[in-house]
Amino acid sequence: MIGKNLLDAKRVGVDFRINGEWLTALYNVDLSVKPGEVLALVGESGSGKSTFAMAVMALHNPNQSRVTGSIMLDGHQIVGATEAEMEELRGVKVGMIFQDPLSALNPLMKISDQIQESMSVHTIVPKEQWHDHTLELLKEVGIAKPELVANQFPHELSGGMRQRVMIAIAIANEPDLLIADEPTTALDVTIQSQILDLIKDIQAKKNIGVLLITHDLGVVAEMADSVAVMYAGQIVERGTAKQIFENPLHPYTRSLLRANPSLDTIDDKLYVIPGTVPALSEMDHARDLFLERVPWMQTEAKTEVPDAPMEPESGHFVRGKAWETFKFQDGYVEKTRQKNGEAKLND
Amino acid sequence: MENIQKKQAASSHSHSFMKAAVREFKRDKVAMVSFFFIIIVILGVFIGSLFIPKDAFTNVDIMDTNLAPLQHGHLLGTDDGGRDEFLLLVIAARNSLSISIPVTVVIMAVGIFLGLMSAYYGGFFDWIWMRITDYLSIIPTLMILLTILTIINNYNIWTLVWVISLFSWISSMRFFRALTFAERENDYVKASKLSGSSSLSIMWTQIFPNLSSQFYAQTALAFAANIGLETGISYLGYGLPYTTPSLGTLVNKATDPEVMTQSPWMWLPASLLILALSVSLIFIGQALRRVADQRQSLA
């Protein structure tokens, strides 16, 4: 899995104009995806996950928002690219699927037309092959009767089928990067697992990079090669899936993992993260915003937040220094940490 | 005690709506001007007309006909019967408003009542009402109105109010029915049921407040539309008698191209008043709708 980065985002920032005021929704985000890699972006609602995805697609409305930093997609700079340049890249270099597969498909167009539109705007698939390629794609995403489905309209399909169609559209031009923004949140668990497996299969088969956005830690654990944790528009921690789940560093990551109901917590109370996410207008991104919710910690670690993340383990980055001293208020120590020996890192 | 509590509750709701409305109107100067304009016209017309003796606008003065404005002390001139146009305008506006205000009240009241009931109870009740409105809505309204007005030999403002209202409630009922249907889907309705509230109480104290801003906005629009309808009927010659002039009868004079060009004072003030009233009401309606949207967007 070593190679050039497919997606290389450096210090990406996104501001929105809300009631005439510019507010920062994304701050100094560094992320990269290599071919064949699944990067999971996790975080609570409103943390900026979709905002990042849209920045990669350059789909933010230029009048209402501004994007700073650098986003390289397979050697193309996206920040500041013209609409024409982006049209060349979208669908070819990067495909995207969305959370709600019903509203993301045009209700008035046949499935085949929507897939073929993908091909028609680029020159990758020759016109004679559109039809066959469409059926092939549908088969590839696990639709049993491609001919039938191709002639149907979105509302005639079940949620799972629609999401499959979305995937077919996204991969029609064989993009190198697939962005999946909460692709299974609207689906039942059984369907969810099917879709996730499908994404994984396609990813493996075509050796493409996947940016998977989700708030479900289970999904992350099942799917991701590497993980980035987002809080209030900042990446607080990133590393391989193993690093994140077995050796979470940032207080937010650790709190999140602890709040998840699991076999261990079964008859106990769940861990509750104190406080609430600040509003967009109250965010000071120069600081580590999560630390405001850890009132029991000393103050120095909170104020001193270096701009560049620390890398305590190879490939494992974490924002700020607070992780070094963070302890749960009740003295709780995670099992993995007990096993791995907390001291090792804390020293 | 219970009552006080309720009043408090009610006032705190209307208070917040009022606040939002005040905010909106402060921001939207056009709507504010419109609002004060309407208030001034309504008050001016109704209070002013109290001081105008009936003779002043029914008596024909054969010597002073067709006077241009400002002649012989007639501010807006006189008409072909020598009646003072300004007094006529005040009385006409009063008569037109006396029709369009009650019509608006009737159709909005009937509309919200039936719309809420029909959508809330649904089922057979709703089915029946929908069939009735289906039936009524295929009737060419204006044509039937004219027919009915030829039948009613002796009618006054109130007859006209009832006749116009007879068909106009349908669209307002449908509007509120659709809104209620959407509102009824909200779980708070179920929650209220489980809290032991009666259907009537749910309809009027839970659902209605959520329709109220649409209700105000819709009322403004309906009012404007009714002024238009009344004047249209008068225009076609089916309005009120000469001794009860309305804005429509004044505007009607412009059908005579000669009057239109040579004596603009006979029809222009009334036309401008209609226009100003309609447009003001539309601006107010839009502002009220924005008040409603604002709350939704805040939510």
Partner: protein
Amino acid sequence: MWKLILRRFLIMIPQLLLMTVLLFALAKMMPGDPFTGRFSAHTDIHTLLRLKREAGLDDPWPTQYFRWIGNILHGNFGNSYVLQKPVATLLGQRIQNTVWLGLLTIILIYSIGIPTAVAAATHEGSFRDRFWTTYNSITGGIPAFVMYIFMLFLFGFTLNWFPTTGSVNIDANGFWSILGSRLYHMILPALSVALFSTVSLFNTLRTSLLDARSSDYVRTAKAKGVPNRQVFWRHIFRNSMLPVASTIGFDIVGVFSGAVILETVFGYPGMGQLFVQSITTRDYTTMNAIMLFSGTLTLLGSMLNDIIMSWVDPRIRIK
């Protein structure tokens, strides 16, 4: 589909029947009858009474009603006692005039309303947007007839650009010349309606364009790399036309019911003008036929809506 249309037709029948009862009752309650207009010192009142009797106007109401209905069911709308022609012939000409005028009006409304709504929505918040939005709220609020009179006077009489009476120039000969003359006669009334009636189309389309613009499927299309123009026309515009299409039937009906005032002002010999005349001359047969026609039209309009909707919106399929 055909079955549904048939069923809708069957449903129309009781509604129309009920309507005929109402119309008949109203007509009978009106003072005077078609023969009062023929009254003069040199017609023998006994002759008038005889003619009235022969026309069946002295029969008991139920007899008259059922005869009327029976005739209608046989496609016979009776004779206009005033204009002394079969109502069908009479209406045929008038309806043609009204239909052409109505069609032109609708075309004009659409060709004014759609581009302005598109301009406003694509430049949301700009001067253009504010201008057209204000234009529509003002024109939508003015009582129509005031504007009709104004337009007639300005363009018809003062500037002399358009004919002010009739539906066709008597001197026009040959297909093209007649067609041209008809169009020429319709332009002013049609334009007068269209210029002041775009408000609902404009508002509906503008709102749905704005909604569609931020919809998920548009985002999907953009993510495919579809160029903006194509996104606009294939996805945003097409989908936004749905709510517009859903009102076409009612628009048509609206234009026809507006004919009463419009044709009266412009002296355009259509159905609306005929209606006002028939009501003053108590020409029941004509009057009722027109109202019945309008009612049927409304029903057909709402049926047309359903058909259009099921045709353009695959989500609505008639079972």
